[in-house]
């Protein structure tokens, strides 16, 4: 199976559990299991090649320009990890099916788990370090979801956040480190990087790159001082802890160190940073683990300790230590996952995982007892189990290690750590399973059903088999993986067997075991001492640190975003001007290549009107109605200018938009204060004036410079001019661009317009649904109202004009393809024709006669445009390819049809609907009871007579 597919399978499979959960929990679990199994089988098919020492490649180019490619490769190391991830994944999926309760959303769980699994497989198979980084971040994100799976538990949420913060920031550091590494090696492909040991180790960037990459690895693998997140992540359901925190995610950091071992290891920097961190972590984790009463916390710290052990071995930088590291990775995964699952079973059946409340379970849960005991003895390093073998190798290596001139310090500390390790392993057995049976368990302890214990039992079987026949069972795997870690070449002589003779390691082992038993015997007084000693609490420090960061960013945000929108606008304008100025200073301006055109009288008059109106708006903007009238003047001059400067389409559009905009603003102004008070001090106004004058100078100067020069590059407009008639079938090039060349843009535009109208409608609904409605209903108009709301003359005139205006719209629409006009303009004109009826005859009268809701008109417009576009598919052409032809019907003249006209119809409808929906929404604010009249032309002589007699009489 292609490596690409193996990495992709879990991601693809992640969809199924979420969907299948409706079909039951078994369906969801089977889907997850089958996907994993398929990927696992796919991986196993590569066994022959991998064990021959070959490397399997699979490459798909993704973003070659960035050096980011989906290149995968599989060697011994990748195979070992992928097999662990998928194999233990299978056992976990089985275990979780029985562990999770009926209330837990199991579909989600398996989806998250598969996402995580995919990300992990991606890490270990990636050949490209950028791709590896993507997967790396994905593991942080998906593990966040898994740790916080029990959303109702605050510990779960906090633990998830802490894990994400720590591993996420480590990941950021690693990105920087990896980029440096890729920069030194000249490639982002691991297979190239791994060949460049000399270049990398002699580079000045070696140390910074090393530190940054190690930060990523240490945070992920919970190395001291970043170890604190792992115990808090134990708030996750036990299957997650067993999977992420024993076998996979925390091993990702180790994997990375092993992967880059050939190019990074072997220097004093590597030795002192990595080996020392590993040694300290191993010791600290082992000591804390002994004093934890929570079973999972004990296992978490023991995991920290064992991860430290492996890190230390990798840090030694010798090939034989690397072999030991690989061997211990395998052993640790087997016994630790089994132990976590055992802890989960105890918790599940006895109702607690507090060691103080447990004990004597060996009679009640014999199967669990057997599994737990064998696994714990392996963790303690007792022969003939596999933990003994690798611990023995580790101690042997420490005995040959010189740290800063001292022969003694590393072996001594390692022995102490092994001693504590033995002690907490014995405690796990003694205080949970041994001792007298108790009467006060919270639950009714009994062995779980087979589905739950079969997974750990299988792992424990491996523990025993590897212990007895290590060379046969684990030998080839260790050799292949270690060969990959050390970068090929001959491995030094080693042998995986129980009896090596009377070596120093054996004496250290014996000392550790006896010491461990002694510590267990003395546990009670020691625990009292431990509880009495003050020590820093990592969680408190972490939270204080995060709190400080939060306050800092809050202060920065508050300082910049104080809620004064004016200020944001001022900053943005000033910044834009500054950037423009910098560009102006940085570039060079060529000489003018165009002649200034003589304007003639008319443009000067127009310019004069525009400038005077604009200046008056600024001076008189406090009188809002006046300013609105003057804005109309500006709009009119602009549309005339468009017409004068060879843009008839723009002139038509501008003038009709002008009408609806002014109506809209008048409607709004009706409800708002008519005057703007003087609030800003004169100095501030001066400052604003200065900003705007500078910005105006910039904009004016820029366009002036542009206007006086020819195009710097050949324009694409020539293509449009040349093909408008041939390819689009229309002579109005602007319209052909809109409905044909750039039809996709126009399609987007009408959708945006429709959305804007919907937003206005929704806002109206929201505002009118609030207390504002009462205010509006009781509002007394602040200006005198017209005595006759619907004057006879106006009503008659608009009704007569309605068909005429619609006729004009139709005319403009149909000629649009060849002469100025088209859907946009026709839509605006039709909208104005209808608005006139609202204005003259009243809202109620017009609403009564409106047959189709405007939403539907917008929707049908978009749908017609889309259907037209899709019609091209039936001709085997891409979306929105237009077609046209000519029809000759006697006795009519020959005329043209084009699918673009149908598209334009969609535009027309969308524009009509959007404009009317916007204005109708605003009009609804004005509605008050008693406003609707039966007759729009409500001149009623009888009423007037009655009023007259009323006043007289």
């Amino acid at each position: 199976m292609s490596l690409f597919l193996i990495a992709a399978l879990p991601f693809l499979g992640a969809v199924f559990p979420a969907l299948l959960i409706r079909a039951g929990r078994n369906a969801a679990a089977s889907a997850a299991g089958l996907t994993t199994l398929l990927a696992f089988i796919g991986l196993m098919l590569h066994i022959p090649a991998v064990f021959r020492g070959e490397t399997v490649y699979s490459a798909v180019d993704w973003l070659p320009a960035l050096g980011l490619n989906a290149h995968f490769f599989l060697d011994g190391l990748g195979f070992l990890f992928a097999a662990m991830i998928l194999g233990i994944g299978l056992l976990i999926i089985l275990y979780a099916r029985y562990y999770l309760s009926r209330e837990d959303p199991m579909g989600q769980f398996y989806s998250y788990l598969l996402l995580f699994q995919g990300a992990m497989v991606g890490i270990v198979l990636s050949d490209n370090i950028l791709l590896l980084l993507v997967f790396w971040e994905l593991t942080s994100l998906s593990s966040f979801l898994l740790i916080g799976y029990w959303k109702h538990l605050p510990e779960g949420r906090q633990g998830a956040r802490m894990a994400l913060t720590v591993t996420g920031s480590g990941g950021l550091a690693m990105i920087a480190g990896m980029l440096m590494l890729g920069h030194i090696a000249g490639s982002y492909d691991l297979s190239v990087i791994l060949q460049n040991k000399e270049a990398i180790q002699s580079s000045d960037l070696y140390l910074p790159a090393l530190i940054l990459i190690l930060l990523g690895a240490f945070t992920k693998s919970a190395q001291f001082p970043f170890h604190f997140w792992l115990p808090h992540a134990m708030a996750a359901p036990t299957p997650v802890s067993a999977y992420l925190h024993s076998a996979t995610m925390v091993k990702a950091g180790l994997f990375l160190m092993a992967r880059l071992w050939p190019v990074l290891a072997g220097t004093p920097e590597w030795f002192y940073i990595v080996a020392t961190t590993g040694l300290v972590t191993m010791l600290v984790g082992a000591v804390i683990a002994l004093f934890k009463d929570d079973l999972k916390a004990l296992l978490a710290f023991s995991t920290v300790s064992h991860l430290g052990l492996i890190t230390m071995l990798l840090g030694f930088g010798t090939k034989i230590a690397a072999v030991a590291a690989v061997f211990h990775i395998i052993n640790h995964a087997t016994f630790k996952a089994a132990l976590f699952m055992t802890a989960g079973i105890v918790d599940h059946e006895a109702g607690t995982r507090d060691i103080k409340r447990l004990g004597g379970l060996r009679h009640l849960m014999p199967v669990t007892f057997t599994i737990g005991t064998v696994a714990a003895l392996s963790m303690a390093g007792i022969p003939p189990l596999n933990g003994f073998l690798s611990k023995e190798m580790m101690l042997e290596e420490t005995a040959h290690t010189i740290w800063n001139g001292s022969h003694l310090i590393v072996p001594a500390l390692a022995t102490v750590a092994a001693l504590f390790s033995a002690a907490y392993s014995f405690r796990f057995i003694a205080h949970v399973f041994l001792g007298p049976k108790r009467e006060d368990y919270p639950g009714h302890p009994h062995d779980p059903n087979t589905g739950m214990w079969i997974g750990p039992a299988f792992l424990v079987l491996l523990v025993v088999l590897i212990g007895f026949a290590s060379a046969k069972i684990a030998g080839p795997m260790v050799a292949t993986a270690a060969g990959a870690v050390t970068g090929g070449g001959e491995l030094p002589y080693y042998s995986l067997k129980l009896w090596h003779g009377l070596t120093p390691a054996l004496y250290m082992s014996i000392a550790a075991t006896i010491g461990g038993l002694t510590l267990l015997a003395l546990h009670k007084p020691l625990q009292r001492v431990w509880n009495a000693t003050p020590r820093p609490e990592a969680k408190t420090i972490f939270e204080a640190l995060i709190g400080a960061f939060t306050r800092l960013s809050q202060a920065v945000t508050d300082g910049l975003h104080n809620g004064v929108l004016t200020r944001y606008a001022a900053i943005m304008v000033a910044f834009t001007v500054a950037v423009g100025y910098a560009a102006y200073r940085g570039g060079s301006l060529g000489t003018a290549t165009r002649e200034m055109q003589d304007p003639g009288l008319l443009p000067v008059v127009g310019w004069f009107a525009l400038v005077v109106a604009t200046l008056f708006i600024v001076a008189k903007h406090r009188n809002r109605l006046l300013a609105l009238v003057l804005i109309g003047v500006v709009g009119l001059v602009v549309s005339m200018a468009f017409n004068y400067l060879s843009a008839p389409d723009l002139a038509l559009t501008q003038i009709s938009v002008e009408v609806v905009t002014i109506i809209l603003m008048l409607l709004a102004l009706n409800f708002m204060p008519k005057e703007t008070p003087v609030e800003t001090p004169a100095l501030f106004r001066l400052r604003d004036g200065a900003i705007s004058v500078v910005a105006g100078l910039g904009a004016g100067g820029l366009i002036y410079a542009l206007l006086m020069r020819d195009f710097a590059f050949p324009t694409i407009s020539d293509f449009h001019l040349a093909n408008s008639y041939k390819g689009g079938g229309g002579t109005n090039v602007v319209n052909v661009i809109l409905v044909d060349f750039r039809g996709y843009d126009t399609f987007g535009e009408i959708i945006v317009l429709g959305i804007a109208a919907m937003v206005i409608f929704a806002l109206t609904e929201a505002v009118l649904g609030s207390k504002v409605r009462a205010y509006l209903l009781n509002r007394k108009p602040d200006l005198p109202q017209a005595g006759d709301a619907h004057p006879l003359m106006m009503v008659v005139a608009t009704r007569v004009m309605m068909p005429l205006a619609l006729m004009v719209a139709a005319y403009i629409f149909f000629r649009g393809h060849n002469l100025p006009g088209g859907g946009f303009i026709a839509g605006l004109i039709a909208a104005i024709a209808i608005i006139m009826q609202y204005m003259a005859s009243g809202f109620a009268w017009a609403t009564e006669r409106q047959r189709y809701p405007y939403h539907a008109i917008i929707g049908s417009g978009v749908l017609i445009a889309a259907a037209t576009g899709m019609g091209a598919w039936f001709n085997g052409m891409p979306f929105l390819t237009s077609d046209f032809g000519y029809i000759h019907w006697e006795p009519l003249e020959e005329f043209e049809w084009a699918t673009a006209a149908l598209f334009d119809l969609g535009v027309f409808l969308a524009v009509v609907g959007a404009v009317l929906l916007a204005l109708e929404s605003l009009s609804r604010f004005a509605w008050q009871p008693g406003m609707s009249t039966e007759h729009a032309m409500d001149i009623n002589p009888a009423r007037d007579e009655a009023a007259k007699t009323g006043t007289e009489g």
Binding site: T566, W607, V611, T614, A647, D688, I691, V733, S921
Partner: protein, 117 residues
């Protein structure tokens, strides 16, 4: 002619920005409208100023045409800016009616707001 258009763009921009920097919503809307004119004319003018040469193809003789592309862009920009103005007007109106206050600055946040627990 070029000078007239450029100076008009400059004046419209300046006036628009000045009004946008006011503290009440209505002048800000007026300012946005002025700025919209300025931007539209600016974009249109990037096709250079040509009189009496609309981009309507003449089937019968060879004539010069102005650049049609900026026109097409500006045409949709005009229509979209109507939609934008309408939304802004509606937001301003809703805000005013809800609080009977048309200042654009947000009121100072009460202590402790925005804390996540």
């Amino acid at each position: 002619m070029e000078l007239l258009v450029a100076s008009a763009v400059g004046i419209l921009t300046a006036a628009g920005i000045y009004l946008i920097l006011r503290r009440r919503s209505f002048p800000v809307i007026l300012g946005l409208s002025l700025l919209t004119y300025a931007v539209n004319v600016f974009l249109f003018a990037t096709g250079r100023l040509v009189t009496a040469a609309p981009p309507i193809l003449n089937k019968y003789e060879e004539v010069a045409y102005t650049d049609p592309l900026p026109q097409a862009l500006v045409l949709t920009a005009i229509v979209i800016s109507f939609g934008m103005t309408a939304v802004v007007v509606m937001i301003a109106l809703g805000a005013y009616l809800s609080s009977l206050d048309d200042r654009t600055a947000m009121p100072a946040e009460p202590e402790g707001a925005g804390d996540d627990a």
